[in-house]
């Protein structure tokens, strides 16, 4: 089987994977297909099981239950060194005793590849560091080490490249730059990338498809735009960006729309964007989708009246308002500073409105705090 495994190609399929440590399920009945050639992100907070999932794919952990296939080959119990899978480790794990050249050549030499020098030189120019071949890893900056770790993995042209929080140790500016570079390199080499991160912005910038993980399960999977525009759970709504979730009751239908009562005020939203299972639901609206106007001025779309400005933060491109509503909830509103209108002041009586199609509906029994307590800038999980 080992000889088959090393040349296996195709989609990665995880089927009903569970990984238990004692009574704790780090990964809980996870099923997932990652198409060949895609840039796939596993996104979630510390301890959500994303790194454990990655380690099972790499062969560093074995699933308690379930199977892993690469194409048609079962690799569930294949040893790491017999899998056509390479990893860019968190903190890079470069070999400190070897030169950069030998670090990159390591995988090629183990497989008895002939034109080592040519291939290493090629990948060093791909990551734009050919002048560093003779150095030791400790002589490199964090960003350079990151690229070498990437080069060391992609030089093997694996069926699957795993990236475990690869940018976590870099400062913000370098991280943004590397995100663009990684995306470019993935297109250039055409490999399947599976990227694990807790940084939602990083996942959204790079990945074609994101799977949001929470407590060992996948909450929702889709393109970055799908996840942001139409989150299916409160966790996704809060973990990817910010959301206003307002308790409501479905009153009835109006063609393709639902009529919803929010604390006595009626709004409507497209039926297909509601994930509620009964009459009880939460209406979700992203802060930048709200419009804000003085009480008494005309509005269009859905309208909620009776608010007053509680707090104003001017941040250049936009102004962030906290609007207190009559039922005691505070809503977050982002307004672009593009209309020359003077911002509102604290205490102003306002009306908020938005286009009905921007509304998403969540189940009424959701924990609306889910995913909010997570600090996206926290250090990467161990």
């Amino acid at each position: 089987m080992s000889n088959d495994a090393i040349s296996a190609r195709g989609d990665l399929r995880l089927t009903r994977i569970t990984k238990s440590y004692g009574d704790f399920n780090a990964v809980d009945d996870l099923t997932l297909t990652i198409p060949k050639g895609s840039f796939f992100a596993l996104l979630g907070p510390s301890g959500c099981g994303k790194t454990t999932t990655l380690r099972m794919v790499a062969g560093l952990e074995e699933p308690t239950v379930g199977s892993i296939h690469l194409g048609d080959t079962d690799i569930t119990t294949t040893r790491p060194y017999q899998r056509p899978i390479n990893t860019v480790f968190q903190n890079y794990a470069l070999f400190p005793h070897l030169t950069i050249f030998e670090n990159i050549a390591f995988g090629l030499r183990r497989r008895g590849i002939k034109d080592v020098k040519e291939q290493v030189d090629k990948v060093l120019s791909l990551v734009e560091l050919p002048h560093l071949a003779g150095r030791k890893p400790t002589q490199l900056s964090g960003g350079q080490q990151q690229r070498i770790a990437l080069a060391r993995a992609i030089v093997n042209r694996p069926a699957l490249l795993l990236l475990d929080e690869p940018l976590g140790a870099l400062d913000l500016k370098l991280r943004r730059q590397m995100q663009i570079e990684l995306k470019w390199i993935q297109r250039e080499v055409g490999l399947t990338f599976v990227h694990v991160t807790h940084d939602q912005e990083e996942a959204m910038t790079m990945a074609d498809t994101i799977a949001v993980m929470n407590e060992g399960r996948i909450e929702q999977m889709g393109s970055p735009a799908d996840l942001y525009d139409d989150p299916e759970t409160a966790f996704v709504a809060n973990f990817l960006g910010q959301s206003n979730l307002i308790k409501g009751k479905i009153e009835g239908n109006d063609g393709d729309n639902l009529v919803i009562d929010l604390f006595g005020q009626k709004i409507s939203m497209p039926k297909k964007r509601s994930h509620a299972v009964d009459n009880s639901m939460y209406a979700g609206i992203r802060p930048e989708k709200f419009r804000i106007s003085r009480t008494g001025t005309p509005t269009r779309g859905n309208t909620l009246t009776g608010g007053h400005i509680e707090d104003v933060s001017y941040i250049g491109v936009s102004t962030q308002y906290v609007v207190a509503m009559p039922w005691g909830q505070e809503l977050m509103v982002f307004e672009q500073n593009d209309d020359g209108v003077a911002p509102f002041d604290k205490g102003d009586e306002v009306v908020i409105s938005w286009e009905p199609t921007f509304t998403f509906g969540l189940r009424g029994d959701e924990d609306i705090e889910a995913g909010t307590e997570v600090n996206p800038e926290e250090p990467a999980e161990e």
Binding site: L60, L94, F95, H97, R110
Partner: protein, 284 residues
């Protein structure tokens, strides 16, 4: 009084320097002076005068070639044996011991709670006729009925291996423990099986420990005389035994001093060559 900040490091170094100067540099100079002295004509035993007799060195070396050779052979054997025993031990403590790590480390240094001499004497018992090793080996026909283990080279090397084992184990453990487990995982990820990973990653990364451990074992072993005195015979005399008897029994200070210097120089040269070869300056 205010002390300038720049002077603080020197002040901190002062006690150490003073100590080393008094108890290392001065005695060494004294030893160097003694090594070229000759007996006072018609004087008492132990009365020497400075004649710059550098021939002392040649005589001392020529007369004790055998003991010099033996010292280095025994020390080398003990070092190799200690490395062979300590590496798996340190590896197991560093990577496989889990919650028993600290207990095992205490056990490694536990022998130090008893005197060095006492432990060496104990080995005489262990390897003696009444010990369990000799009868066991005899009943298994590994050694003949006439063979004994005490007063042999085997006993001396075994004693030295045992006595210096912690000096080998601790630096090895320290350097193995420092290896980032992710580099081991990375090696597996890059198509290296367990054995290749050990050879290509674990061993090179533990080289600082190997170098430190072998030096800490070899240097004291080469100058040791306790093991040879207690566990050996006249046929297993090492250079340390010669120096000891020259000083305290024969009261031939110049020869003893010349031998000490020759031993020091020989160790220094060997260690320098070894470090060059092991290339520690390139290790991290």
């Amino acid at each position: 009084m205010k002390i300038g900040k720049a002077r603080v490091p020197y002040l901190l170094l002062l006690p150490g320097f003073a100590f080393l100067f008094t108890f290392f540099i001065l005695p060494i100079l004294n030893l160097a002076q003694t090594s070229t002295q000759t007996p006072v004509k018609g004087g008492d035993t132990g009365e020497y005068e400075q004649t710059f007799a550098f021939s002392n060195y040649i005589n001392a070396f020529v007369d004790n070639k055998e003991q010099f050779g033996r010292s280095f052979v025994y020390a080398t054997l003990a070092t190799i044996l200690a490395l062979a025993i300590a590496y798996p031990l340190a590896y197991a403590i560093a990577f496989k011991s889990g919650k028993f790590k600290n207990i095992l480390l205490v056990l490694v240094v536990a022998p130090f709670f008893t005197s060095f001499l006492l432990r060496t004497v104990a080995w005489k018992q262990i390897l003696g006729e009444e010990g369990f090793i000799v009868p066991t080996l005899r009943s298994l026909h590994i050694i003949s009925e006439q063979t004994t283990l005490t007063s042999t080279a085997f006993a001396v090397v075994a004693g030295m291996t045992y006595n210096f084992l912690p000096f080998m184990t601790l630096p090895l453990y320290a350097s193995l423990e420092r290896i980032d487990p992710r580099t081991i995982e990375a090696s597996g990820d890059l198509y290296a099986n367990g054995l290749t990973t050990f050879r290509r990653v674990t061993v090179p990364l533990s080289m600082p420990g190997v170098v430190a451990g072998t030096l800490l074992t070899f240097i004291p072993a080469a100058g040791d005389y306790v093991n040879a005195a207690i566990l050996g015979s006249p046929n297993t005399k090492m250079i340390g035994n010669v120096i000891e008897s020259r000083y305290f029994k024969i009261v031939d200070y110049p020869t003893a001093a010349a031998l000490s210097f020759t031993l020091m120089a020989a160790i220094l040269i060997l260690v320098t060559l070894y470090i060059r070869k092991a290339g520690t300056e390139e290790l991290v």
